[in-house]
Symmetry: C2
Amino acid sequence: MIVSALATSVGINLGLTVLLAAVYSLLRRRPPYVDVYSPRRPYAPLEPWLAAAWRRTEEDIHAAAGLDGVVFVRIFVFSIRVFAAAAVLGVGVLMPVNFLGDQLRQIDFSDLPNKSVDLFSVSNVQDGSNKLWLHFSAAYIITGVACYLLYYEYKYISGKRLEYFMTSKPLPQHFTVLVRAIPVTDGGSVSDAVDKFFKEYHSSTYLSHTVVHQTGKLRRLLNDAENICTKLANIKSVRHPSGDPPGKFLGIFGRNDLVGKYQKRLEDLEENVRMEQSDATRSRQEVAAAFVSFRSRYGAANAIYIRQSDNPTEWQTEHAPDPHDVYWPFFSTSFMERWISKFVVFVASILLILVFLLVAAFVQGLTYMEQLETWLPFLKNILEIAVVSQLITGYLPSVILHFLSSYVPSIMKLFSTMQGFISVSGIERSACNKMLRFTIWSVFFANVLTGSVLGQLKIFLDPKEIPSRLAVVVPAQASFFITYVVTSWTSIASELTQTASLLYHLWGSCAKCCKRDDSKPPSMHYHSEIPRVLLFGLLGLTYFIVSPLILPFVLVYFCLGYFIYRNQLFNVYSPKYDTGGRFWPIVHNGTIFSLVLMHIIAIGVFGLKKLPLASSLLVPLPVLTLLFNEYCRNRFLPIFKAYSTEALIKKDREEQSKPEMAEFFSNLVTAYCDPAMKPIQRSSNSDDRTTPLLSSA
Amino acid sequence: MIVSALATSVGINLGLTVLLAAVYSLLRRRPPYVDVYSPRRPYAPLEPWLAAAWRRTEEDIHAAAGLDGVVFVRIFVFSIRVFAAAAVLGVGVLMPVNFLGDQLRQIDFSDLPNKSVDLFSVSNVQDGSNKLWLHFSAAYIITGVACYLLYYEYKYISGKRLEYFMTSKPLPQHFTVLVRAIPVTDGGSVSDAVDKFFKEYHSSTYLSHTVVHQTGKLRRLLNDAENICTKLANIKSVRHPSGDPPGKFLGIFGRNDLVGKYQKRLEDLEENVRMEQSDATRSRQEVAAAFVSFRSRYGAANAIYIRQSDNPTEWQTEHAPDPHDVYWPFFSTSFMERWISKFVVFVASILLILVFLLVAAFVQGLTYMEQLETWLPFLKNILEIAVVSQLITGYLPSVILHFLSSYVPSIMKLFSTMQGFISVSGIERSACNKMLRFTIWSVFFANVLTGSVLGQLKIFLDPKEIPSRLAVVVPAQASFFITYVVTSWTSIASELTQTASLLYHLWGSCAKCCKRDDSKPPSMHYHSEIPRVLLFGLLGLTYFIVSPLILPFVLVYFCLGYFIYRNQLFNVYSPKYDTGGRFWPIVHNGTIFSLVLMHIIAIGVFGLKKLPLASSLLVPLPVLTLLFNEYCRNRFLPIFKAYSTEALIKKDREEQSKPEMAEFFSNLVTAYCDPAMKPIQRSSNSDDRTTPLLSSA
């Protein structure tokens, strides 16, 4: 890619970004769009959004978006710090050195726009030149900076997590344990078995339990009822505001006939639901799992961390999630079931990556104009137009990749669901890990390796060759990834304008009868956003030595993200759960991976550049980085897994004598009741609806 | 190697084995040798030893050698079962098929002694022959048999372990926790910090604590005192029985002068020890570690499995070992210290393996006569004598390897000590793991790979090629390993005659003045014996497909081992500790490794033999084996790590009302006192001495 093509891409994306931001600034206060741009607040804030996003403190974010929101913003803070340092080093030192090198051509400042972007990369430095020691030092410096900041952030967030726990009001999940693989003797019920076991071994702290039931059928019935309710509500809402004569809008059916028909169907469903519920309670459909509540947090911790049964595959305990966070539909319980599904999901994830690799191989073909012309000869004339050619090589592949990747998170979430996680937050955290691996493989490695030949994947079967092979293929894709980063500006700005939900909202306003209940603000999809953000960190770090030109663009991305997400966490997304910052370890591990990958590439680059001493002296760097990671795993990770005796007992004692605890415990007994099992009047309606439809039916 | 050379080797070793067994049978009842052959009993048992070893039940072994002894014998039982099945398959089916193949030569039964042993190996089967499907089926059958038996043994031993716990009398280690990395505020003592912390957070179950002191100097002083005591005792014992005139035996010194001089030195030392002890107790030399005892087993478990402090690197808790099992000299306590030493030991272990590989490369050179003749041309004439040549190629390398390997276990134990294990059993278990890895690398791989070229080690850098490369090099070393197994018969028989300790005993009888306190029976070195036994399982399994001729020899080894060790565990070795069968998981993992290695080699062999379909169809076998292993890890391993709530509480309740518990708890308070800190009258003498020397001084 030549400099002018890059400039075109930067120009287009900068323009689009500014345009989208302007559109947002214009629309966000207009009444019809407030539902889209500030669904969390009934009003549109008056202050300019950029100023507001800047002004807000971390406490505000914590209050608005929970600790997970804080962690998400800290990713940007951390990245801005790292890439500010990296950009100073890269643009200030490495880029001039690279540009003044003469490996690729003699120094010649004329006609800069037609020069290749590669002139700014390490390839342009003379082989064996002593200037490469600058690159070598830069690798050590940036690793030091990144590790220091990683340590600082881990410490900061784990402190926040403890603080959050110590100041939280009593929460059901702290007093409750999920027990799975409950062995049942012939004829006995699960409920009796649980009661007997915990009365025997936890007599002083055991409070109550709720057995899980199979409610798949019930859930389907309730869903049908919900749909009919929505339809009924729409019919009613169409009549009231517009006052159309009946029969006109709804075609051949009379409106009243339709209402009657729906109400009849609703009554039948309601009857079915009641029967199904009483069936379920008559223990016919008990699942070998139960939520067991205790009188103290420490009592619950005892049941979790000390193995309960002599047979380790029975009475398996784990932390209970927040009652609203429980994912009821999949409730696999037996040890073998979950174990097999884990293996199946593992295989399926690999297959998904392989399928995606094939697709990416095709997309990458687009960057090679000649290949495209061979495939589609009739496009030859069009492709020879300069702008089209620049658009296609510089822009189209990124767009296609962005588009395809958007479907993967939901598949990953499905996989995690199959693995037997029982909370939405657990599913999303697991999906986040899977997405991170997927992103690294399917976006980074797939593009780096298939950009040339798919067969290059086999370099991983020859570990000794990895550094030198990566040192060849990674720099070759520098221009692709620079445009990828630049394209991402638009995609992050379109986060601001919420294009999809805007269109959906407009469509909803046009066709009222299809309007669904969109009064709830959406939630942040951490499992797809975090890996996406981390990918740019990966790109920035891996290209830090090779092609420092990418750094300012990455920095711009993180700055944009910082402001935009701070705004969105306030106005658009409302938290669906609070994991207490448990996404941070994923971020930490992802960054460590990026650093080590950068080291491996740097080792290869110095080898290729005929400076083997620098290669050898770089070997301790990944080792030190991994040791640092191991230290952090010991020092901080346990805090994200469990609270300590110290914290638990302090918190228990603090509340022991509080009068409101009696009420809390009486609520705790019913907190983990499956919503599908609740009496029908409340079950099919969300709490914030004002007119309970089913009960009026 | 030709059949006659193998026959020579079998003949020599069978002869030596029978000879050693005969020597043992003759000597074991003679009074001077009872100390060597039955140190655990004051008398020599009358029954023939082989019959006695056969007759004894597992309960007897449990009573005599603890659960670890039972586990050790179960290794032989398991191996005999597996290799009985393997030998039936291998010798009954595979070997005839191999021998009737015609890849290496035409069938010709004449002159069998001069035929190569390779005729019995898979190499002799025609490439692409359908007979190879017999080998394929054999791989599946033997894996199935081995996995079934592994499951059965794991279940059996974990059952034994639980039974052992449930029937044990109250033991200090079940009620006690070792706390390390205790944070101390300025000026406060460790003891106060421990007391405050556990009174605060474990008020209902906390009983007492014992802070660990730095007693290195004290230990050295006590050791000196002990040495002088021994010398004094020897001088006295020389006088009494022989009644030599003074001055004659002891050269220029008069005997009384010498006694006086030693007694003076002893008094000085004693004074020093007292000063050192009072220094240590005045908390100047407190270490940030303590043994904390609880009123119940469940209370101790609470302190171990729930993280104590908000900072995971402080107040780290773990199971306390048996008080007699505590390894006092090394008592590293801080988190960082142990963490760094772990890394250092890891590097040192790798270096040790590398050094050993070089040595093994030289030894292996001996199997290639031509090479030896090049190195040492003056030996040419001798080497051309048939017997010498057969001895050197068939026997000498094994002897050298056996000899060198005997020094490694103590180095590995030193490494484990440095890692910060605090019990002898913990150190030996860790050393056992290290030894197993060492044995696999330095005996198996080193011989397989350096037998041809040291550079072949690099095949591990090219994972895809591993099966086919192993399929070439492993069969090439079949004859070496067959003689290795045959040689091991002698080495296991010399275990019976205890050659080293016999010589030591005889030397001690000759030179009475050097006689040391050998009245205690020795203990079994599980960390060196278990890996050695597992090596033969590895050899048997890896050569099962390639060269089934090895199987009967391996089976004989295990049968010999079964009888000999059952005898030795009764008469010679007394248990030093009881881990409750925690060595079994090492055996299980080792066997799984052997199976997978066998599969990889088989995949390579079928590839080389031009039966790619069989290669592909074998790929699921290692996957299934690893899944089986993963299942066992979940199903059984937790039982070996900790006892369950169920077991702990049952056991606690059972004893709650027993009157002897009061006495137990009062003893528990002082159970974990460092022996070096005990009052001097008792400290420098082992308990079974009748004359307390220091107190008489």
